[in-house]
Amino acid sequence: MRLDRILLIISIVVIATAFFFLLFPQSGKASKGLSAIFSNIHLGLDIKGGSVLEFAMATEDENVDENQLANDVIAVLRNRLDSVGYTEATIKKVFAGNKVRIRVEIPEISDPSKAERLLGKKGKLYFAEVLDSKVQEEKPTEKPFKYQDAVWLKNISAQRYYNETEWLLVREDIRIGAKIVNLDGSKVKDARASFDPKEGYVILLTFNNTGRKLFADITRAMINKRLAIVLDNNVLVAPVVKEAIPGGQARITGKFSIEEAREIATLIKSGNLPVDLIKVEENSVGPLLGKDIILQSLVAGIIGLIVVMVYMIVVYGWMGVVADIALVYNTFLLFGVLALTRSILTLPGIAGIILTIGTTVDGNIIIFERIKEEMRLGKTVHNSIAGGFSKATSTIVDANLTTILAGVALYLLGKGTIKGFATTLIIGVIGSMFTVLVVSRVILDLTSTLIKNKYSKALGTNEGVAK
């Protein structure tokens, strides 16, 4: 009886903990209906809808530190995504052999192409000297002979904020005397909007060490001339240089609104991707498909559960009821562990949960058959339960460990959503062992009077099972 009491307490504590993690709101987000019950379960993008993009980095140099490069790429992509409002997106490194890949996951996105355009673009940002300017609709074609290496580009800040089309003749190779200097976006450490009491909203630029020196030289040579900041063949902004700036910190004024200053700063900062990105895989799921999937798995899961529960009661009587309790117990335990470990529930993961029904029932069946055998030997119900468990425990452990081994192999080597399947399978199988060996055991012991012993009075009943 002492053992039973301990097992009972363990069973109750475990399921109470599971319920706590399942129901206690972690996110603070209000949700209704089914999603409220499962708000602590993290759904994969293949269910809730979203886009997963995986990019390879087109590195030409063999000796480049891919890890560091990937960090730089991630910083740039983060900026780009934040600037258009995809703040819930995650960007991370994944490894394919010895190659580093960039994986971007954007939940609940309606237009994945837009994100892909935004991410895949290398984005070339550079500083250029302005040689001439014209305000007109058509792009100017003529350029003086000595400026053959310069190009006419549109000043988009003029277009956007003053509604006039200004064309600037800019040259990327900035001449300082006889020297040619190039200053590109990789030398910009930071760009941000800031407020100045006299000037209003301004953009603050900070250069890195190499950038500071170049910028000092350029500004010294270009006082009272315009310096253009060019991104992907558009002039973002083209301020006039007032003075030489040796400190590596520049301030661009221009009667910007806060939004304008912020947008230009973001564009400057997220300008340069150090490497071309090549898409290797994409998985985009609209929200409608997810709805179908949830409904289908819910219906399949519930019908499966009911059929199995009825079958168990028909075949095993009261012991079947115990198996059914174990089944429900393990299902909630599984959801609780998913919430606790913050595992991501993917579509194959749902399949894993449904399969857990099978494993839990199996463990119970192994036990019940053993108990029946013990009863056939003429033991009392109570002794049969004890004997059944002592003989069946190793069978159950052996049988389930093989499923766990298959799950571990899948988890270690599987890719993408399949990992989600391995997760629920492993949690489910371990949970089912606990449920069968602890929870079923304690209920059977406590309710042993309800179990019919067909074999106690007369041997040779016409029970159709093997003897």
């Binding site: 390879a56 394919a96 052999g97 192409s113 892909e116 355009r117 895949g120 898409k279 290797v280 895989e281 994409e282 998985n283 799921v285 609209g286 409608l288 498909l289 179908d292 999937i293 949830i294 409904l295 289908q296 798995s297 219906v299 399949a300 019908i303 499966g304 059929v307 579509l347 399949a351 449904i354 399969l355 029904i357 099978g358 199996d362 069946i365 192994i366 058959e369 055998e373 190793s394 069978t395 052996d398 049988a399 093989t402 499923t403 081994l405 298959a406 571990v408 192999a409 899948l410 270690l412 080597l413 599987g414 890719k415 993408g416 959503t417 399949i418 399947f421 040779g460 093997a466 003897k467």
Partner: protein
């Protein structure tokens, strides 16, 4: 008191049946091949929904060739499921082309909206896999399967004897080949979820096999002196009600999943449904009876 079913006596017949099934499967796999999903071959899989439910696969193929002539030889499957939250006719289209640039996708979407009507068609999901990624998924799946089999082999050798491990692995290969044969024969898509299904059913089939082996090991000790085929047959008969009940309940669950599953889980549920039947059969009629010869030799030496 109770007559035993003779599993062992007729083992030659059942082994012959299994060999024939395996042969048919191998022929189908070699001749017909698999209907591989984009997970394993380069391409783009698009799930489309039409509000107009009268559209047929042939119509869709015609219209796709208007977007680009080479899209005409894509694979199109109509998706049906017993439960659906959204109304309309749904199709899975697998293009051989990998959409590497967003422009290709935009072109597809825009032209599809033009041809079918913007209110009529909707893209539910979109999956593009490059040749490189497909190769990696293939390698990962093989590695996972290999690792699983090695782990299982080691485990059974440690817990039982190597003879049992050979028997178990023979049953596993039997199950995997026949299930894969069914995928080939019925042209069911093989994607990465199917690999998970195959590994799970190997776990299940093994589970059944181990329960029988466990009993053989126990009876071998208890009934020393009895002929081995008698012990094996008795053991199978002792655990058969467990095997039947477990297999039936698992079968209910996966068969219901097969009925209700949509585009992604259907191939997965198919494999498990076939696998539960094949796996149960193999653990009763194949895994243990083929041990008899080996155990006899083992006993003599």
């Amino acid at each position: 008191m109770k007559r035993e079913i003779d599993f062992v006596g007729k083992r030659k017949i059942f082994i012959a049946i299994s060999l024939i099934l395996i042969a048919i499967s191998i022929v189908s796999i070699l001749v017909k091949g698999f209907n591989l999903g984009v997970d394993f071959v380069k391409g783009t899989e698009i799930v489309l929904k039409f509000n107009d439910e009268s559209i047929s696969i042939a119509d869709l193929r015609n219209k796709l060739s208007e977007i680009k002539p080479e899209y005409a030889n894509s694979r199109i499957t109509k998706i049906t499921s017993a439960a659906e939250a959204t109304k309309g006719a749904k199709f899975q289209v697998v293009l051989k082309q990998f959409f590497d640039k967003p422009e290709l996708k935009d072109e597809f979407t825009n032209k599809a909206e033009q041809i079918f009507g913007k209110d009529n068609v909707e893209i539910l999901s979109f999956r593009a896999v490059s040749g490189q990624a497909a190769q990696e998924l293939k390698t990962a799946s093989w590695n996972a399967a290999l690792l699983a089999i090695i782990l299982i082999l080691v485990y059974i050798t440690v817990r039982f004897q190597f003879v049992y491990a050979i028997g178990a692995i023979a049953a596993l290969i039997h199950d995997a080949l026949i299930t894969l044969g069914f995928y080939s024969m019925f042209s069911i898509e093989v994607n990465s979820a199917v690999i998970a299904a195959i590994l799970t059913l190997l776990g299940y089939s093994l589970n059944d096999t181990i329960v029988v082996y466990d009993r053989i090991r126990e009876n071998n000790r208890r009934l020393r002196g009895n002929p081995i085929d008698r012990i094996v047959n008795k053991s199978i008969n002792e655990v058969i009600s467990r095997t039947i009940n477990t297999s039936l309940t698992t079968f209910f669950v996966v068969f219901i999943l097969l009925l209700f599953a949509g585009v992604v889980l259907k191939p997965f549920a198919f494999g498990l449904t076939v696998g539960v039947v094949v796996g149960t059969y193999s653990s009763l009629y194949i895994a243990s009876p083929i041990l008899i010869g080996w155990i006899r030799k083992f006993r003599r030496s």
